[in-house]
Symmetry: D2
Subunit: 381 residues, 4 copies
């Protein structure tokens, strides 16, 4: 890996290799394009290569998004000497082989969540990265939100006192209709289910804000046990993954709380929400209003709405004016910026493979607790 | 007990005997005064007698509130032949002896929640009432809210489809300050603690809306284990009851969910809130905005605010115009009206001693689950 | 008029005579019944007499609501020596003859809003009352809300700094459907129209909070110029009154602002709302959530929700606990309490005939400004 | 001007020349960079040149943002043959000379709002552009919001029935403190004041949604008539521009309403809000929650929150998932996309110099109405 911390005259190039052109592929592309306009960087971001198994699509996306080369073979991209960072946005079961290859090639690896489709894979990946000494990041982008930064700061500097409780929920409605057909998200081998698909974001956020969880108890169930094999199909497929999971959490800091994840809940599109209460105050957040934090300090009459503004680290990169609001893609840009800062030894904040394994371990503990209907200590898993 | 269902010419009098003159005492008094103006009743409500251990206070309140007689001995009130309904609003540990005496005297008993300070007492009370054949009611007033009636109707008539999940929380902040002193609410023998004091309202509401719970898992803790013995005192007392309890619930109808109760949560004054989601829609309610229900049906873009109005049973008794809003005391008036309807054989809806015992049993199961850190089936208790 | 300020041993009786048994009639009855339970009064409230032109209805309501006598002739009620306070809740055009007769009889007069159906009538009424020296009150009940009391206090003690702007709106939707038939509310001679029927409440509130208005400019229009003569009728009637009125206001204290009143606005049931902003803060209120005030002080990040509680004068009469919420009828009880306090020389707050004339004069100025499409100084009218 | 509508094999380049590097300069740069990733365009966007009077800053920004050339003389940029679109983001008083020069050079002109600092300038500019036949756009970016597109569509297709009323407000608090010093925004010759700076956005939006305004009445005032000459200075400067303006509007379609603009209003950061009501429904919007529209149709109980999603034109370019939210900068990207579509003859929607002159004329009419305290017909101005 090249060294970016000693910046020579003329900015060094940081070559980006992006694998995948779906929702997340394009979000990465936009973020890498945007980061240079938003921030003064010590490197020149170079969109070196894009890979998609569909060569035509790879070529078109590379052209549209400004990448220099297109590959239909992701292994070529990883080997490309122009590529410093390998960004992986493919379906979940491909994260493992791609990330392992990238680590082996000594590349910086920026992988979408979930890290892997099994805890064993995730364990292998974190160990490989640690041994190779490469920088890694996993796309838990929600924690890069400046207003989440404010929440974390309030917790860390004691403004909320001792943390007493956590209530977290990630609910959407996209599987709410029994007629919504089977997809790869319905397969456990692809890290499907409401807990893995949605809940892991919430677990990552809970850990980001409150640290380690010590023990969990949980309950999972599948409401629609059969779904059409495809849209409009008469054939059905059995579904084994959870439609919803509820859990109790005990944090190492003493806080207790609840966790819920559902993809059946009418009324919600992106309801990644939490409420954290301490001896001196309470804060509440909902990703559906991502620029707002509700805050009530002890002794105050009620919650106050805090709207994100340029006083929060990260926000001013996009607007000097409060209330103008960041969008989802800008959280991704902030994630990419944090990665580049790490690459340039200017910061180390952010979830790496080690942290992603912790998230997966926590999710696994919840899965065990739900299956065995008992409290499970995380260290058991 | 006199029969009120055959209404003679000239309305029969229904004599009220009220024990207690605190928060709930006055709420009962206002409700019994108000019910005749709000509803056309088949009986004449007669404020027959008021009892308070403090004779001076009893006399003053009787005069202010329009009761004919004042007693400092509650047993005299129970024996008063003018008294048909004995309303019990004294501290929790007195519910048992008073209700048992009233049942024995063959009176209708209207007791504030919780029914008793132990499940054994509650069991004895429901059995005594059943054997005596007297009408009983317990003051779970929140379920008499017309907008809760709408919620129940939507659930019962299938508008939400099969019920999938329940999230309930009852949080207040009145014990949030570590310097708030010990009170009887801090004693388990007085049915103190966040679960008993607040949570039981939520459990009653959950049962009212969704029916039986089959199994629970729970976690309770005491955050402030020492409190001043009195305001400003240097002496402290140890606190054994829970400051907060979290639980997982499994309902007999298949719904799963979470339950939380806290009296430490800054930002909330009366946050008895729930969200119930089914295969065809979701509803949400918060007692802090008691005239509103949030509703989202499958296929709709988001929640719609439904404001209570005269189309809902009960509301029109207080106002012919929507959006004018009922207050807490009018929920109590509706509770009293439901009791009078039951007395006159015009309806039987409403929580009686049997139902209150069910609520206490559920709370006890949660207590056992939290103590033993395991799932508990309700029928174990 | 009897003197109630020197309270003898044994509370003097204060006799209530209520004319009218509609929405407001019943609201008054409930309020007079409730006020004794809610407050320790220096008088005994005596429900002396009830009048309704329909003798049967008068008798039934008197019985249901606890009044001693029923009259079908309101003049008899006014002459009844047991009656100290004459409460007038009849259709608007009857306020004038009834109030004038009551004033002449030396009674305390408590009249529903609007005071009269013309400014000339209102002028005559205030003068008659002043000459007779009788206590008068007009039912602008919204200003008795404890949270409005908080708003007024914040304004009066300078917490908002110099008041800069006022935005007020009273919108409902009950005439929003073109098929809603004609009613007396559609007649100017009955003080109909959105400005008179709804807007006058807002004008009274604006004056209560900010004092005199100096000049106005306005725009009124009738959207549905024809309505069915009755429900389902093919016959139509022409409508001359306004469906909506908008205005600009200049207050004597220097504040500027906007005013709107509509009975056509889908989405609103009782949207009597205002926002008042000063050099040091902003407050906002909506009658559809009557227990809440939104507050933002200079330098704060956003609005904070303040929920009514017992620290606000008036609230504790109904509940010792915050967040339990008052209802519309309790605002009426507070109005009655303020009247009784005035009668007993214990306070003088509250809108009398003089103030009601000021409100009518302001509404008239808006009507002139809308008709002549020019700015109108209030003193012109 | 080159023709972009006939797309040859190999996409033609569309050269961008950006003048200004402030808040809006960077927003334009990000938008031009982003538009290619978000949309499949028939042209290749080429960041040809950047100009800033400060040569060093120009060079640094050009490098950071990916522009090929940097100029310290904006006239050179306009003459640059690589530049097809001249984007003007300089202080308001420079819009006129730059736009006139760009028009004269036959370039496409994309100018930030306000178009000019006087109506006479704006008139000259629209006429020059019309005569030159160049495509023009003005940065009223808020109307490119997909949820505003939904609002417009609901209005245009009659879902709200006949439009009856408009309430619009643009309030911020950035001048709310009397100690906030003078800036160019306090000068009328720089198009300063709350009406010009904020209000014009609202007027543009009102016109976008409801069309022409026919007449206005208005009231403006300056609350803080003196401000420090600079931060911390003892010297003060007199302020002549408005701190707030309120107005009544009459639309050509028959709707009536109110307009407010303030930069003094504590509690608001970007409160560009409106409510539009028709005979069949009401919609409400607030830029502080730019991804939401509140909708209530006739007969519905209350407002429903509609959260932006990929079914709305424009949204899917940024995310395939609802509830993920666009940010302010993405509205700018949509504005740039609309411009490129116009250039390629694929659409013509969007505010040009003619429309910007209409907005300025409307603002001028409000200014006249406020100065002369009378109703003003727009055609008078």
């Amino acid at each position: 890996m090249r060294q970016f911390s000693q910046i020579p005259a003329g900015l060094p190039q940081l070559g980006i290799g992006l694998i995948g052109t779906g929702f997340m592929g394009r979000a990465h592309a936009m973020a890498f394009r945007n980061v240079s306009a938003a921030f003064s960087l010590p490197v020149q971001v170079h969109l070196a290569a894009l890979a998609d198994a569909d060569a035509t699509r790879a070529a078109r996306c590379a052209s549209d998004w400004g990448f220099d080369h297109a590959h239909s073979d992701w292994q070529q991209l990883i080997c490309d000497p122009e590529v410093d960072i390998v960004a992986i946005t493919t379906p979940n079961h491909l994260h493992y082989p791609m990330a392992m290859a990238a680590v082996e090639a000594g590349k910086i690896v920026y992988c979408e969540k979930p890290l892997a489709v099994s805890l064993a894979q995730a364990d292998e990946m974190r160990n490989a990265a640690k041994e190779a000494g490469v920088i890694t990041r996993v796309g838990y982008n929600y924690q890069h939100n400046p207003i989440i930064g404010l929440a974390r700061q309030m917790i860390d500097n004691g403004e909320l006192g001792d943390i007493v409780s956590f209530h977290g929920e990630f609910s959407e409605d996209f599987m709410g209709d029994a007629a919504t057909p089977w997809s790869w998200r319905c397969e456990e081998t692809h890290a499907g289910g409401a807990l893995a698909d949605l809940g892991s974001h919430l677990l990552a956020l809970a850990r980001h804000l409150l640290g380690d969880v010590e023990a969990v108890c949980a309950d999972s169930n599948t409401v629609h046990a059969q779904r059409p094999a495809a849209a409009g199909s008469n054939e059905t497929r059995s579904i084994a993954v959870d439609d919803q999971t509820h859990a109790l959490l005990r944090f190492a800091n003493g806080a207790r709380g609840t966790f819920s994840s559902s993809w059946l809940k009418h009324g919600y599109k992106n309801h990644l929400a939490f409420e954290i209460s301490g001896t001196r105050g309470t804060i509440a957040f909902d990703q559906e209003r991502l620029n707002e934090l509700q805050v009530c300090r002890a002794g105050q009459a009620g919650f106050q709405r805090v709207l994100a503004g340029p006083s929060l680290p990260g926000y001013a990169a996009f607007s000097p004016a409060p209330g103008h609001q960041l969008g989802y893609n800008e959280l991704k840009t902030l994630e990419v910026h944090a990665l580049i800062q790490a690459v340039c030894n200017q910061g180390k904040e952010g979830p790496d493979f080690e942290e992603a394994w912790q998230v997966e371990r926590l999710a696994t503990a919840i899965r065990v607790a739900a299956r065995e209907l008992r409290w499970v200590r995380i260290e058991e898993v």
